[in-house]
Amino acid sequence: MRFKVLGMVAALALAVSACESTSGSGAGASGSGQSITPLPAAAPLALKDQFVVDVGDRVFFSFDRFDVEQDQKKVLDVQAAWLKKYSSVTVTIEGHADERGTREYNLALGERRANAVKEYLIYLGIDAKRIKTVSYGEERPVALGSDETAWSQNRRGVTVVTGPGS
């Protein structure tokens, strides 16, 4: 089946603006009795920030590996507990690689890493339907620099809160 891609720019621009309006707007969502009604998106955004700050959104991997190591499992244990508390939250797990591989292989490796995180969260009792995965390969490094310090931060699986399940 062929799917025509039209209005590509417009749709993406919307997606960007929706995602970029992160912290700041979330703080006013606690409802202080003012007449301004909080935007519906504010609540999940607050959860999104809370998840990053209080829970820890990422685990790290060894070079060319995709198994979640013992010390990293602790992070996912906390994530799973939090996801059980906020049972309507859905997440996307991003898999990333460092620059020490070929581009296409790194896409496949990022996919494996994202999936490894997903599998472990499922093992801890999180419903698979709440978890999506996406691989960015080496395309979205978080740390600049061409040394092991940067590479070790870039080999990561990041759990991103994408919304309330409704």
């Binding site: 891609v5 993406l12 296409e104 292989y105 996919e111 490894a116 395309e139 979205r140 620099g145």
Partner: protein, 465 residues
């Protein structure tokens, strides 16, 4: 647009018939005094050949427009031949006989004195219907023989293509192999950090977008606007379409871009990420990887029937597939043996055999259009290499090495590779520049291909039909 050559009519040759005879007689007399000389040739299979000195004279035109086109055509031809590393164009300041005077027969002695072994001359004329007529001759200066005489008609704006076609014709006549000058390169351009407009954004941190240009960097234009991350473009054999990967709507999928209409279409309806696409040699199929539940397998899709066939069934990463030119085999990389290595299978996914056995990891195999070699990226000892091996895995040769080089793509004649080279980046975000480079199969003649901004993922087109 197709430009067909016309074997040059004998008008000009007839006019100079008598002196030609005389000069040939002279040449024959000379040949008694020295060993019989074979026609000039270049063996491009040898490494580090001494470039052939060649004189490329301005093509002569009477009108201003024709004369200008003539000069530009000669310049493009000389630059093409020089970049090939096989020719050394002689500085026109050294020429004794003027281009205008070549309208009669070349005074070969004048060209021998400056050590030209080959001479290119031509004429341009805007004919009555407004088209540009370009004729050219290639002369063997020592044997005083005409090696080529051809004429082309084209719209005047198209002079650049005529220059590339003539360059290919000269290359073929002297090396015996098809040229690669009338070709394009599609690649991924990166926005500079301070770019205005769309530039870099969170979803496309380096502002990557598709760009296309002639092989010499001219006629550069962007195909996508940079809002969406795009990767790994590859040409269809017809050049009308490009297959690539896009993160449109954050769904990484393989797309097809139609160059004529600018339309982009997602390929198929797959439940997971599709990536690493390449066209089959006939352009009727796309082979690629699809990742599902963390596992990447290789699939081939018939573009007309939309039938999809899965070729690999393994828990390993199977990706970067490339068809052999006869389409009977596929080379790909897989870590099924514990580390990333090259494997070959038949077009139905059977008879899988590993072909790489050296130290290190092997990736991005690409079958040569000639079928005789497979180019690859190798990772070993923290370094990256571009190399080639025979399809049975023997005869591995490494051509280039650096901190990060990747993604070889073949010239249509299978004699030159383009790849990209990325430098180390610093903590403050400086460095990390990425540029396109070409290198001869012999390992010589490594050169940067100028691009307006950082560049990666090059793909070389076939000769333009």
């Amino acid at each position: 647009m197709t430009i067909r050559p016309m074997i040059m009519p004998a008008k000009f040759a007839l006019k100079t018939f008598a002196p030609l005879i005389a000069l040939l007689a002279f040449a024959a007399a000379l040949s008694d005094a020295r060993p019989a000389r074979a026609e000039i040739t270049i063996d491009i299979t040898r490494g580090n050949v001494e470039p052939l000195p060649i004189a490329v004279t301005d093509f002569v035109g009477k009108s201003g427009a024709a004369a200008r086109a003539g000069r530009e055509i000669a310049g493009v031809i000389a630059a093409n031949l020089e970049r090939s590393g096989l020719f050394k164009p002689i500085d026109p300041k050294a020429f004794i006989q003027s281009a205008g005077a070549l309208n009669a027969l070349p005074r070969f002695g004048d060209w021998r004195v400056i050590n030209a072994q080959a001479l290119v001359q031509g004429r341009t004329e805007v004919v009555s219907d407004g088209r540009l007529r370009v004729e050219f001759r290639l002369w063997d200066v020592f044997s005083e023989q005409q090696m080529i005489g051809l004429a082309y008609f084209t719209v005047p704006d198209n002079w650049r293509r005529v220059a590339h076609i003539i360059s290919d014709s000269i290359y073929k006549r002297i090396t015996g192999e098809d040229g690669y000058f009338d070709t394009r390169i599609v690649y991924v351009a990166e926005q500079p950090k301070d770019a205005k407009g769309v530039g870099r954004n969170r979803l496309n941190p380096f502002g990557k977008r598709l760009a296309i240009m002639d092989q010499d960097g001219e006629n550069h234009r962007f195909l996508t606007d940079g809002t969406t991350l795009v990767l790994t473009p590859r040409f269809s054999p017809t050049l009308q379409e490009i297959t690539y990967m896009s993160y449109f709507r954050n769904n990484p999928r393989v797309y097809i871009f139609n160059i004529d209409t600018g339309r982009q279409e997602v390929l198929g309806d797959f439940p997971g990420m599709t990536f690493a696409p390449r066209f089959s040699p006939d352009g009727k199929k796309i082979i690629m990887s699809m990742a599902k539940d963390g596992n990447s397998e290789i699939y081939v899709m018939d573009l007309r029937t939309r039938v999809v066939r899965q070729l690999t069934f393994h828990s390993a990463i199977d990706t970067s597939p490339s068809f052999s030119p006869d389409a009977n085999q596929v080379v790909f990389n897989s870590d099924r043996g514990g580390s990333q290595q090259l494997y070959v299978m038949d077009d139905r996914g059977k008879n899988v055999r590993r072909i790489s056995f050296g130290n290190g990891r092997y990736a991005t195999p690409v079958w040569s259009p000639r079928g005789d070699l497979i180019a690859f990226t190798k990772l070993s000892g923290g370094r990256f290499f571009i190399g080639v091996m025979k399809p049975d895995g023997s005869g591995e040769r490494l051509l280039a090495e650096d901190f990060k080089i990747e993604g070889p793509t073949w010239s249509p004649n299978g004699r030159v590779l383009i790849f990209y080279r990325k430098g180390r980046s610093e903590k403050d975000g400086s460095g990390g520049q990425s540029k396109l480079w070409s290198i001869d199969l012999t390992g010589h003649n490594e050169r940067e291909i100028p691009t307006p901004m950082d560049a990666s993922d090059p793909a070389w087109s076939p000769l333009i039909p």
